[in-house]
Protein backbone atom coordinates (compact mmCIF):
# COMPACT_ATOMS: atom_id res chain seq x y z
CA UNK A 1 0.00 0.00 0.00
CA UNK A 2 1.28 3.46 -0.83
CA UNK A 3 2.03 6.10 1.80
CA UNK A 4 -0.32 8.47 -0.02
CA UNK A 5 -3.18 6.06 0.41
CA UNK A 6 -2.36 5.75 4.09
CA UNK A 7 -2.30 9.46 4.74
CA UNK A 8 -5.67 9.97 3.05
CA UNK A 9 -7.39 7.59 5.35
CA UNK A 10 -7.45 9.07 8.82
CA UNK A 11 -11.07 9.79 9.57
CA UNK A 12 -11.90 7.26 12.27
CA UNK A 13 -14.94 8.95 13.81
CA UNK A 14 -17.11 9.22 10.71
CA UNK A 15 -20.80 8.35 11.03
CA UNK A 16 -22.15 8.25 7.49
CA UNK A 17 -19.50 7.60 4.91
CA UNK A 18 -20.17 9.77 1.92
CA UNK A 19 -18.26 11.04 -1.05
CA UNK A 20 -18.83 13.62 -3.71
CA UNK A 21 -16.96 12.01 -6.57
CA UNK A 22 -13.58 11.21 -5.05
CA UNK A 23 -12.27 8.65 -2.64
CA UNK A 24 -13.78 7.07 0.44
CA UNK A 25 -11.69 5.96 3.42
CA UNK A 26 -11.93 2.24 3.97
CA UNK A 27 -10.34 -0.06 6.52
CA UNK A 28 -9.97 -3.68 5.50
CA UNK A 29 -8.24 -6.51 7.30
CA UNK A 30 -6.77 -8.63 4.55
CA UNK A 31 -5.15 -11.91 5.49
CA UNK A 32 -4.82 -10.68 9.06
CA UNK A 33 -3.21 -7.36 8.19
CA UNK A 34 -5.06 -4.08 8.55
CA UNK A 35 -5.07 -1.76 5.54
CA UNK A 36 -6.33 1.82 5.72
CA UNK A 37 -7.06 2.87 2.18
CA UNK A 38 -8.68 5.62 0.19
CA UNK A 39 -10.72 4.00 -2.53
CA UNK A 40 -12.83 5.31 -5.39
CA UNK A 41 -16.40 4.05 -5.09
CA UNK A 42 -16.32 2.16 -8.40
CA UNK A 43 -13.28 -0.01 -7.57
CA UNK A 44 -14.12 -3.67 -7.04
CA UNK A 45 -12.52 -5.73 -4.30
CA UNK A 46 -10.88 -7.87 -6.98
CA UNK A 47 -9.23 -4.88 -8.66
CA UNK A 48 -8.18 -3.49 -5.29
CA UNK A 49 -6.55 -6.79 -4.33
CA UNK A 50 -4.81 -7.32 -7.63
CA UNK A 51 -3.93 -3.85 -8.86
CA UNK A 52 -3.27 -1.94 -5.66
CA UNK A 53 -2.27 -4.52 -3.13
CA UNK A 54 -0.61 -6.83 -5.67
CA UNK A 55 -2.33 -9.86 -4.23
CA UNK A 56 -2.67 -11.53 -7.61
CA UNK A 57 -3.69 -14.94 -6.29
CA UNK A 58 -7.36 -14.08 -6.80
CA UNK A 59 -7.98 -14.35 -10.53
CA UNK A 60 -10.12 -12.35 -12.92
CA UNK A 61 -11.81 -14.86 -15.18
CA UNK A 62 -14.98 -13.16 -16.36
CA UNK A 63 -15.38 -10.08 -14.11
CA UNK A 64 -19.17 -10.74 -14.13
CA UNK A 65 -19.89 -13.33 -11.45
CA UNK A 66 -19.99 -16.13 -14.01
CA UNK A 67 -16.85 -18.18 -13.26
CA UNK A 68 -15.82 -18.05 -9.60
CA UNK A 69 -12.09 -17.47 -10.23
CA UNK A 70 -12.23 -14.35 -8.03
CA UNK A 71 -13.81 -16.11 -5.03
CA UNK A 72 -12.49 -14.89 -1.66
CA UNK A 73 -13.78 -15.14 1.91
CA UNK A 74 -15.41 -11.99 3.27
CA UNK A 75 -16.04 -12.25 7.02
CA UNK A 76 -15.68 -15.98 6.52
CA UNK A 77 -18.21 -16.25 3.68
CA UNK A 78 -17.24 -17.02 0.10
CA UNK A 79 -18.20 -14.37 -2.43
CA UNK A 80 -17.23 -13.22 -5.92
CA UNK A 81 -14.81 -10.33 -5.36
CA UNK A 82 -15.45 -9.01 -8.89
CA UNK A 83 -19.00 -8.04 -7.91
CA UNK A 84 -18.19 -6.38 -4.59
CA UNK A 85 -17.37 -2.69 -4.51
CA UNK A 86 -14.49 -2.31 -2.05
CA UNK A 87 -16.05 0.75 -0.38
CA UNK A 88 -18.99 -1.34 0.78
CA UNK A 89 -16.69 -3.62 2.79
CA UNK A 90 -15.35 -1.09 5.29
CA UNK A 91 -14.50 -2.97 8.50
CA UNK A 92 -14.55 -6.42 6.90
CA UNK A 93 -12.05 -9.23 7.19
CA UNK A 94 -10.98 -10.69 3.90
CA UNK A 95 -9.09 -13.89 3.30
CA UNK A 96 -7.57 -14.61 -0.08
CA UNK A 97 -5.66 -17.66 -1.23
CA UNK A 98 -2.46 -15.95 -0.02
CA UNK A 99 -3.88 -15.88 3.50
CA UNK A 100 -5.01 -19.50 3.67
CA UNK A 101 -1.56 -21.00 3.62
CA UNK A 102 1.96 -20.62 2.33
CA UNK A 103 4.48 -23.06 0.88
CA UNK A 104 5.62 -25.22 3.78
CA UNK A 105 2.49 -24.37 5.74
CA UNK A 106 -0.40 -25.27 3.50
CA UNK A 107 -4.07 -25.17 4.43
CA UNK A 108 -5.41 -28.75 4.55
CA UNK A 109 -7.49 -28.07 1.43
CA UNK A 110 -4.46 -26.76 -0.46
CA UNK A 111 -2.61 -29.93 0.50
CA UNK A 112 -5.59 -32.04 -0.59
CA UNK A 113 -5.66 -30.29 -3.99
CA UNK A 114 -2.00 -31.28 -4.47
CA UNK A 115 -2.58 -34.81 -3.31
CA UNK A 116 -5.62 -35.32 -5.56
CA UNK A 117 -4.15 -33.57 -8.59
CA UNK A 118 -7.16 -31.24 -8.51
CA UNK A 119 -5.93 -28.84 -11.20
CA UNK A 120 -4.17 -28.64 -14.51
CA UNK A 121 -3.46 -25.04 -15.59
CA UNK A 122 -4.25 -23.77 -12.09
CA UNK A 123 -6.10 -20.62 -13.11
CA UNK A 124 -9.35 -21.54 -11.37
CA UNK A 125 -7.56 -23.07 -8.37
CA UNK A 126 -7.36 -20.13 -5.93
CA UNK A 127 -11.09 -19.54 -6.41
CA UNK A 128 -11.82 -23.26 -6.10
CA UNK A 129 -9.89 -23.52 -2.85
CA UNK A 130 -11.41 -20.40 -1.28
CA UNK A 131 -14.82 -21.65 -2.36
CA UNK A 132 -14.13 -25.10 -0.93
CA UNK A 133 -13.04 -23.59 2.39
CA UNK A 134 -16.29 -21.60 2.41
CA UNK A 135 -18.31 -24.71 1.59
CA UNK A 136 -16.74 -26.67 4.46
CA UNK A 137 -17.44 -23.82 6.90
CA UNK A 138 -21.08 -23.59 5.76
CA UNK A 139 -21.64 -27.19 6.73
CA UNK A 140 -24.40 -28.03 4.24
CA UNK A 141 -22.51 -30.64 2.23
CA UNK A 142 -22.34 -34.35 3.05
CA UNK A 143 -22.33 -36.23 -0.23
CA UNK A 144 -20.53 -35.95 -3.55
CA UNK A 145 -23.74 -34.60 -5.11
CA UNK A 146 -23.89 -31.92 -2.41
CA UNK A 147 -20.27 -30.92 -3.06
CA UNK A 148 -20.75 -30.76 -6.81
CA UNK A 149 -23.90 -28.66 -6.51
CA UNK A 150 -22.40 -26.33 -3.90
CA UNK A 151 -19.20 -25.92 -5.95
CA UNK A 152 -21.10 -25.10 -9.15
CA UNK A 153 -20.04 -21.47 -8.85
CA UNK A 154 -16.46 -22.39 -9.75
CA UNK A 155 -15.88 -23.29 -13.37
CA UNK A 156 -12.78 -25.19 -14.45
CA UNK A 157 -11.96 -25.04 -18.14
CA UNK A 158 -9.48 -27.90 -17.66
CA UNK A 159 -12.28 -30.06 -16.30
CA UNK A 160 -10.60 -31.10 -13.06
CA UNK A 161 -13.99 -31.38 -11.37
CA UNK A 162 -13.75 -35.02 -10.28
CA UNK A 163 -10.48 -34.46 -8.47
CA UNK A 164 -11.63 -31.15 -7.01
CA UNK A 165 -14.63 -32.96 -5.49
CA UNK A 166 -12.29 -35.68 -4.18
CA UNK A 167 -10.06 -33.11 -2.48
CA UNK A 168 -12.98 -31.37 -0.82
CA UNK A 169 -14.59 -34.64 0.25
CA UNK A 170 -11.34 -35.69 1.86
CA UNK A 171 -11.14 -32.55 3.98
CA UNK A 172 -14.85 -32.81 4.77
CA UNK A 173 -14.05 -36.26 6.08
CA UNK A 174 -17.13 -37.87 4.54
CA UNK A 175 -17.22 -41.35 3.11
CA UNK A 176 -18.91 -40.61 -0.19
CA UNK A 177 -15.80 -40.93 -2.37
CA UNK A 178 -15.72 -42.93 -5.55
Amino acid sequence: MSEAALSLANDPGREVASSAIGTVPVTLTINGQEHRLAVEPWVTLLDLLRERLHLTGSKKGCDHGQCGACTVLIDGRRMNSCLKLAVTLDGSEITTIEGLGQPGNLHPLQAAFLEHDAFQCGYCTPGQICSGVGLIAEGHARTRDDVREQMSGNLCRCGAYTNIADAILEVLGTEDRE
Binding site: G68, T71, M79, N80, S131, G153
Partner: protein, 337 residues
Protein backbone atom coordinates in the same frame (compact mmCIF):
# COMPACT_ATOMS: atom_id res chain seq x y z
CA UNK B 1 -18.05 1.88 -15.57
CA UNK B 2 -19.12 5.48 -15.13
CA UNK B 3 -18.04 7.59 -12.16
CA UNK B 4 -20.52 8.10 -9.34
CA UNK B 5 -20.50 9.27 -5.79
CA UNK B 6 -21.31 7.18 -2.82
CA UNK B 7 -23.35 7.31 0.37
CA UNK B 8 -23.67 4.75 3.11
CA UNK B 9 -26.59 5.70 5.36
CA UNK B 10 -27.31 3.74 8.51
CA UNK B 11 -30.99 4.71 8.96
CA UNK B 12 -33.88 3.91 6.62
CA UNK B 13 -35.05 7.55 6.72
CA UNK B 14 -31.62 8.76 5.54
CA UNK B 15 -31.51 6.11 2.84
CA UNK B 16 -34.92 7.11 1.50
CA UNK B 17 -33.89 10.76 1.45
CA UNK B 18 -30.71 9.87 -0.47
CA UNK B 19 -32.63 7.53 -2.75
CA UNK B 20 -35.13 10.24 -3.70
CA UNK B 21 -32.42 12.19 -5.52
CA UNK B 22 -32.56 12.03 -9.29
CA UNK B 23 -30.23 9.36 -10.77
CA UNK B 24 -29.58 7.79 -7.36
CA UNK B 25 -29.71 4.01 -7.06
CA UNK B 26 -29.71 1.61 -4.13
CA UNK B 27 -26.90 -0.92 -3.80
CA UNK B 28 -27.45 -4.06 -1.72
CA UNK B 29 -25.36 -7.20 -2.37
CA UNK B 30 -24.23 -5.75 -5.67
CA UNK B 31 -24.35 -9.02 -7.61
CA UNK B 32 -26.64 -7.51 -10.24
CA UNK B 33 -26.04 -3.78 -9.95
CA UNK B 34 -22.24 -3.96 -10.10
CA UNK B 35 -22.52 -6.08 -13.23
CA UNK B 36 -24.87 -3.53 -14.81
CA UNK B 37 -22.54 -0.68 -13.78
CA UNK B 38 -19.65 -2.41 -15.55
CA UNK B 39 -21.73 -2.76 -18.70
CA UNK B 40 -22.77 0.91 -18.56
CA UNK B 41 -26.40 -0.20 -18.45
CA UNK B 42 -26.85 1.29 -14.98
CA UNK B 43 -25.66 4.91 -15.04
CA UNK B 44 -26.38 6.43 -11.63
CA UNK B 45 -24.69 9.61 -10.46
CA UNK B 46 -25.02 8.50 -6.83
CA UNK B 47 -24.95 5.01 -5.37
CA UNK B 48 -26.70 4.64 -2.02
CA UNK B 49 -25.20 1.63 -0.24
CA UNK B 50 -28.03 0.20 1.89
CA UNK B 51 -25.85 -2.57 3.32
CA UNK B 52 -25.67 -1.00 6.80
CA UNK B 53 -29.40 -0.42 7.27
CA UNK B 54 -31.01 -2.38 10.14
CA UNK B 55 -32.96 -4.66 7.76
CA UNK B 56 -30.95 -7.85 8.12
CA UNK B 57 -33.23 -9.91 10.36
CA UNK B 58 -35.88 -12.57 10.03
CA UNK B 59 -38.72 -12.25 12.54
CA UNK B 60 -42.30 -13.27 13.23
CA UNK B 61 -45.24 -11.19 11.97
CA UNK B 62 -48.37 -10.52 14.07
CA UNK B 63 -50.39 -12.75 11.75
CA UNK B 64 -48.25 -15.85 12.31
CA UNK B 65 -46.01 -15.47 9.31
CA UNK B 66 -42.35 -14.57 8.88
CA UNK B 67 -40.85 -11.21 8.00
CA UNK B 68 -37.72 -11.49 5.85
CA UNK B 69 -35.62 -8.35 6.10
CA UNK B 70 -34.62 -6.89 2.74
CA UNK B 71 -30.93 -7.24 3.64
CA UNK B 72 -31.00 -10.83 4.84
CA UNK B 73 -28.93 -12.71 2.29
CA UNK B 74 -30.40 -15.36 0.04
CA UNK B 75 -28.22 -18.00 1.78
CA UNK B 76 -29.26 -16.95 5.27
CA UNK B 77 -32.90 -17.06 4.17
CA UNK B 78 -32.73 -20.43 2.44
CA UNK B 79 -30.94 -22.12 5.35
CA UNK B 80 -32.87 -20.41 8.15
CA UNK B 81 -34.49 -23.19 10.17
CA UNK B 82 -37.85 -21.36 10.38
CA UNK B 83 -37.92 -20.85 6.62
CA UNK B 84 -36.88 -24.46 5.98
CA UNK B 85 -39.55 -25.85 8.28
CA UNK B 86 -42.42 -23.54 7.40
CA UNK B 87 -41.73 -22.50 3.80
CA UNK B 88 -39.68 -25.28 2.22
CA UNK B 89 -40.87 -24.11 -1.22
CA UNK B 90 -39.05 -20.82 -0.69
CA UNK B 91 -35.83 -22.48 0.48
CA UNK B 92 -35.92 -24.80 -2.49
CA UNK B 93 -36.45 -22.01 -5.03
CA UNK B 94 -33.64 -19.89 -3.58
CA UNK B 95 -31.23 -22.84 -3.63
CA UNK B 96 -32.18 -23.53 -7.26
CA UNK B 97 -30.83 -20.09 -8.20
CA UNK B 98 -27.32 -18.77 -8.86
CA UNK B 99 -24.45 -20.28 -6.81
CA UNK B 100 -23.36 -20.52 -3.20
CA UNK B 101 -21.06 -17.51 -3.44
CA UNK B 102 -23.65 -15.37 -5.24
CA UNK B 103 -26.35 -16.32 -2.73
CA UNK B 104 -23.97 -15.37 0.11
CA UNK B 105 -23.83 -11.82 -1.28
CA UNK B 106 -27.33 -11.49 -2.78
CA UNK B 107 -30.06 -10.05 -0.59
CA UNK B 108 -33.80 -10.63 -0.56
CA UNK B 109 -34.55 -7.06 -1.61
CA UNK B 110 -31.97 -7.23 -4.40
CA UNK B 111 -33.23 -10.58 -5.61
CA UNK B 112 -36.77 -9.43 -6.36
CA UNK B 113 -35.41 -6.21 -7.87
CA UNK B 114 -32.84 -7.82 -10.15
CA UNK B 115 -33.11 -6.77 -13.79
CA UNK B 116 -33.80 -8.98 -16.79
CA UNK B 117 -31.01 -11.06 -18.36
CA UNK B 118 -32.17 -10.13 -21.90
CA UNK B 119 -28.97 -9.99 -23.97
CA UNK B 120 -29.99 -6.74 -25.68
CA UNK B 121 -30.77 -5.03 -22.40
CA UNK B 122 -27.16 -5.81 -21.39
CA UNK B 123 -25.58 -4.66 -24.68
CA UNK B 124 -25.66 -0.88 -24.99
CA UNK B 125 -24.76 -1.15 -28.69
CA UNK B 126 -28.20 -2.64 -29.44
CA UNK B 127 -31.72 -1.17 -29.20
CA UNK B 128 -33.76 -1.82 -26.07
CA UNK B 129 -36.95 -0.16 -24.86
CA UNK B 130 -36.28 -1.15 -21.28
CA UNK B 131 -32.88 0.51 -21.20
CA UNK B 132 -33.63 3.37 -23.58
CA UNK B 133 -37.37 3.97 -23.97
CA UNK B 134 -38.42 4.43 -27.58
CA UNK B 135 -35.35 2.78 -29.09
CA UNK B 136 -37.16 -0.41 -30.13
CA UNK B 137 -36.73 -3.98 -28.97
CA UNK B 138 -33.76 -5.95 -30.24
CA UNK B 139 -35.18 -9.25 -29.05
CA UNK B 140 -38.33 -9.13 -31.17
CA UNK B 141 -37.13 -10.62 -34.43
CA UNK B 142 -33.69 -11.14 -32.88
CA UNK B 143 -32.11 -13.79 -30.70
CA UNK B 144 -34.83 -14.56 -28.17
CA UNK B 145 -34.23 -18.06 -26.86
CA UNK B 146 -34.58 -16.98 -23.23
CA UNK B 147 -37.51 -14.65 -23.74
CA UNK B 148 -41.15 -14.60 -22.69
CA UNK B 149 -44.08 -16.54 -24.10
CA UNK B 150 -46.83 -15.00 -21.96
CA UNK B 151 -47.90 -11.45 -21.21
CA UNK B 152 -45.52 -9.84 -23.71
CA UNK B 153 -46.11 -6.51 -25.42
CA UNK B 154 -45.00 -5.21 -28.83
CA UNK B 155 -42.42 -3.18 -26.89
CA UNK B 156 -40.70 -5.85 -24.78
CA UNK B 157 -40.59 -9.63 -24.43
CA UNK B 158 -38.16 -9.84 -21.50
CA UNK B 159 -38.53 -12.27 -18.60
CA UNK B 160 -37.97 -11.70 -14.91
CA UNK B 161 -35.02 -13.91 -13.96
CA UNK B 162 -35.59 -14.53 -10.25
CA UNK B 163 -36.33 -18.01 -8.90
CA UNK B 164 -37.09 -16.72 -5.41
CA UNK B 165 -39.81 -14.44 -6.78
CA UNK B 166 -41.64 -17.41 -8.34
CA UNK B 167 -41.95 -19.08 -4.94
CA UNK B 168 -42.95 -15.79 -3.30
CA UNK B 169 -45.73 -15.44 -5.88
CA UNK B 170 -47.06 -18.91 -5.06
CA UNK B 171 -46.82 -18.21 -1.32
CA UNK B 172 -48.66 -14.89 -1.77
CA UNK B 173 -46.02 -12.89 0.04
CA UNK B 174 -46.27 -9.14 0.57
CA UNK B 175 -43.58 -6.57 -0.09
CA UNK B 176 -43.11 -3.83 2.50
CA UNK B 177 -41.72 -0.60 1.10
CA UNK B 178 -40.82 2.83 2.45
CA UNK B 179 -40.60 6.01 0.43
CA UNK B 180 -40.78 9.74 0.96
CA UNK B 181 -44.60 9.33 1.27
CA UNK B 182 -44.23 6.76 4.05
CA UNK B 183 -44.75 3.01 4.20
CA UNK B 184 -46.97 0.75 2.15
CA UNK B 185 -47.48 -2.96 1.57
CA UNK B 186 -47.72 -4.40 -1.94
CA UNK B 187 -49.25 -7.86 -2.54
CA UNK B 188 -46.71 -9.94 -4.45
CA UNK B 189 -49.01 -10.36 -7.45
CA UNK B 190 -49.02 -6.58 -7.87
CA UNK B 191 -45.31 -6.06 -7.26
CA UNK B 192 -43.87 -7.04 -10.64
CA UNK B 193 -45.72 -5.93 -13.77
CA UNK B 194 -46.13 -6.80 -17.43
CA UNK B 195 -44.19 -4.65 -19.91
CA UNK B 196 -47.21 -3.11 -21.68
CA UNK B 197 -46.54 0.41 -22.88
CA UNK B 198 -43.88 1.04 -20.23
CA UNK B 199 -41.30 -1.74 -20.50
CA UNK B 200 -38.74 0.27 -18.54
CA UNK B 201 -40.79 -0.30 -15.39
CA UNK B 202 -40.06 -3.76 -13.93
CA UNK B 203 -42.29 -3.29 -10.93
CA UNK B 204 -44.69 -0.94 -9.20
CA UNK B 205 -42.18 0.70 -6.86
CA UNK B 206 -42.36 4.46 -7.05
CA UNK B 207 -39.09 6.29 -7.73
CA UNK B 208 -36.92 6.23 -4.62
CA UNK B 209 -39.02 3.65 -2.75
CA UNK B 210 -37.01 1.14 -0.76
CA UNK B 211 -38.02 -2.45 -0.07
CA UNK B 212 -37.60 -3.02 3.66
CA UNK B 213 -38.97 -6.55 4.04
CA UNK B 214 -40.90 -9.39 2.48
CA UNK B 215 -43.71 -10.84 4.60
CA UNK B 216 -44.71 -14.48 4.31
CA UNK B 217 -48.29 -15.25 5.34
CA UNK B 218 -49.17 -17.85 7.94
CA UNK B 219 -50.17 -20.45 5.35
CA UNK B 220 -47.20 -22.79 4.91
CA UNK B 221 -47.60 -25.65 2.39
CA UNK B 222 -45.09 -28.01 3.99
CA UNK B 223 -46.39 -31.29 2.54
CA UNK B 224 -47.40 -30.71 -1.06
CA UNK B 225 -45.04 -28.37 -2.84
CA UNK B 226 -42.23 -28.35 -5.39
CA UNK B 227 -39.93 -26.03 -7.30
CA UNK B 228 -39.06 -27.57 -10.64
CA UNK B 229 -36.50 -25.61 -12.66
CA UNK B 230 -35.51 -26.50 -16.22
CA UNK B 231 -32.37 -24.86 -17.64
CA UNK B 232 -29.47 -25.34 -20.01
CA UNK B 233 -27.20 -26.94 -17.38
CA UNK B 234 -28.03 -28.47 -14.04
CA UNK B 235 -26.70 -25.65 -11.92
CA UNK B 236 -25.61 -21.99 -12.27
CA UNK B 237 -28.05 -21.19 -15.07
CA UNK B 238 -31.23 -19.15 -15.22
CA UNK B 239 -34.56 -20.90 -15.69
CA UNK B 240 -35.88 -21.52 -19.17
CA UNK B 241 -39.10 -22.65 -17.54
CA UNK B 242 -39.67 -23.11 -13.82
CA UNK B 243 -42.75 -24.13 -11.88
CA UNK B 244 -43.55 -23.47 -8.23
CA UNK B 245 -46.49 -25.42 -6.82
CA UNK B 246 -48.10 -25.10 -3.39
CA UNK B 247 -51.00 -27.44 -2.81
CA UNK B 248 -53.35 -28.59 -0.08
CA UNK B 249 -54.98 -32.01 -0.39
CA UNK B 250 -57.91 -33.02 1.82
CA UNK B 251 -59.56 -36.44 1.71
CA UNK B 252 -57.91 -37.26 -1.58
CA UNK B 253 -59.13 -34.08 -3.29
CA UNK B 254 -57.30 -30.87 -4.06
CA UNK B 255 -58.52 -28.24 -1.61
CA UNK B 256 -56.22 -25.50 -2.85
CA UNK B 257 -53.52 -25.23 -5.50
CA UNK B 258 -51.24 -22.42 -6.45
CA UNK B 259 -49.02 -22.52 -9.52
CA UNK B 260 -46.47 -19.86 -10.48
CA UNK B 261 -44.21 -20.04 -13.51
CA UNK B 262 -40.74 -18.54 -13.94
CA UNK B 263 -38.79 -17.91 -17.13
CA UNK B 264 -41.89 -17.33 -19.23
CA UNK B 265 -43.01 -13.76 -18.52
CA UNK B 266 -42.01 -10.31 -17.27
CA UNK B 267 -43.28 -11.39 -13.84
CA UNK B 268 -43.95 -14.69 -12.07
CA UNK B 269 -46.92 -16.04 -14.03
CA UNK B 270 -50.05 -17.05 -12.17
CA UNK B 271 -53.60 -17.45 -13.44
CA UNK B 272 -56.24 -18.01 -10.80
CA UNK B 273 -58.62 -19.64 -13.32
CA UNK B 274 -56.07 -22.41 -13.82
CA UNK B 275 -55.85 -23.00 -10.07
CA UNK B 276 -59.64 -23.07 -9.72
CA UNK B 277 -59.79 -25.86 -12.30
CA UNK B 278 -58.02 -28.08 -9.77
CA UNK B 279 -60.13 -27.37 -6.70
CA UNK B 280 -62.30 -30.32 -5.67
CA UNK B 281 -60.70 -32.69 -8.17
CA UNK B 282 -58.62 -35.78 -7.53
CA UNK B 283 -54.90 -35.04 -8.03
CA UNK B 284 -54.55 -36.92 -11.31
CA UNK B 285 -53.01 -36.32 -14.70
CA UNK B 286 -56.31 -35.33 -16.33
CA UNK B 287 -56.83 -32.55 -13.80
CA UNK B 288 -53.22 -31.41 -14.13
CA UNK B 289 -53.41 -31.29 -17.92
CA UNK B 290 -56.63 -29.30 -17.75
CA UNK B 291 -55.04 -26.72 -15.43
CA UNK B 292 -51.96 -26.56 -17.65
CA UNK B 293 -54.03 -25.66 -20.70
CA UNK B 294 -55.67 -22.77 -18.87
CA UNK B 295 -52.36 -21.57 -17.45
CA UNK B 296 -50.71 -21.51 -20.88
CA UNK B 297 -53.70 -20.14 -22.76
CA UNK B 298 -52.48 -17.46 -25.17
CA UNK B 299 -48.82 -18.49 -24.98
CA UNK B 300 -46.92 -17.35 -28.05
CA UNK B 301 -43.33 -17.95 -29.10
CA UNK B 302 -41.07 -15.51 -30.91
CA UNK B 303 -39.04 -17.98 -32.91
CA UNK B 304 -36.06 -19.16 -30.91
CA UNK B 305 -38.14 -19.54 -27.75
CA UNK B 306 -41.02 -21.51 -29.30
CA UNK B 307 -39.72 -24.59 -27.48
CA UNK B 308 -40.72 -23.09 -24.14
CA UNK B 309 -44.40 -23.78 -24.85
CA UNK B 310 -44.11 -27.58 -25.13
CA UNK B 311 -41.52 -27.49 -22.36
CA UNK B 312 -43.93 -25.71 -20.02
CA UNK B 313 -46.76 -28.02 -21.11
CA UNK B 314 -44.71 -30.96 -19.80
CA UNK B 315 -43.15 -29.23 -16.79
CA UNK B 316 -46.39 -28.01 -15.22
CA UNK B 317 -48.15 -31.40 -14.87
CA UNK B 318 -44.87 -32.94 -13.76
CA UNK B 319 -44.50 -30.35 -11.02
CA UNK B 320 -48.12 -30.84 -9.99
CA UNK B 321 -47.46 -34.59 -9.73
CA UNK B 322 -44.36 -33.98 -7.61
CA UNK B 323 -46.32 -31.72 -5.27
CA UNK B 324 -49.33 -34.04 -5.02
CA UNK B 325 -47.10 -37.02 -4.27
CA UNK B 326 -45.16 -35.10 -1.63
CA UNK B 327 -41.91 -35.69 -3.51
CA UNK B 328 -40.56 -32.20 -4.18
CA UNK B 329 -37.77 -31.77 -6.69
CA UNK B 330 -34.35 -32.10 -5.03
CA UNK B 331 -32.04 -29.18 -5.81
CA UNK B 332 -29.00 -31.43 -5.31
CA UNK B 333 -29.82 -34.66 -7.07
CA UNK B 334 -31.26 -33.19 -10.25
CA UNK B 335 -33.00 -36.34 -11.43
CA UNK B 336 -36.70 -35.65 -11.86
CA UNK B 337 -38.73 -37.02 -9.01
Amino acid sequence: MIRFDYARPTEVSDAVREGAAEQATYLAGGTNLVDLLKENVARPTRVVDIGRLPLAEIGETESGGLRLGALVTNSETAYDSRVQERYPLLSSAILAGATAQLRNAATNGGNINQRTRCYYFYDVATPCNKRNPGQGCGAIGGVNRIHAILGTSPHCIATHPSDMAVALAALQAEVRVTGSDGERVIPFADYHRLPGEEPWRDNTLKPGELVTAIDLPAERFTQNFTYLKLRDRLSYAFALVSVAVAMRIEDGRIAEARIALGGVAHKPWRRLEAEEVLVGRAPDRAAFDAATEVLLDGARGHGANDFKIPMARKAIPRALEQAAAGTPQSQTDKRLA
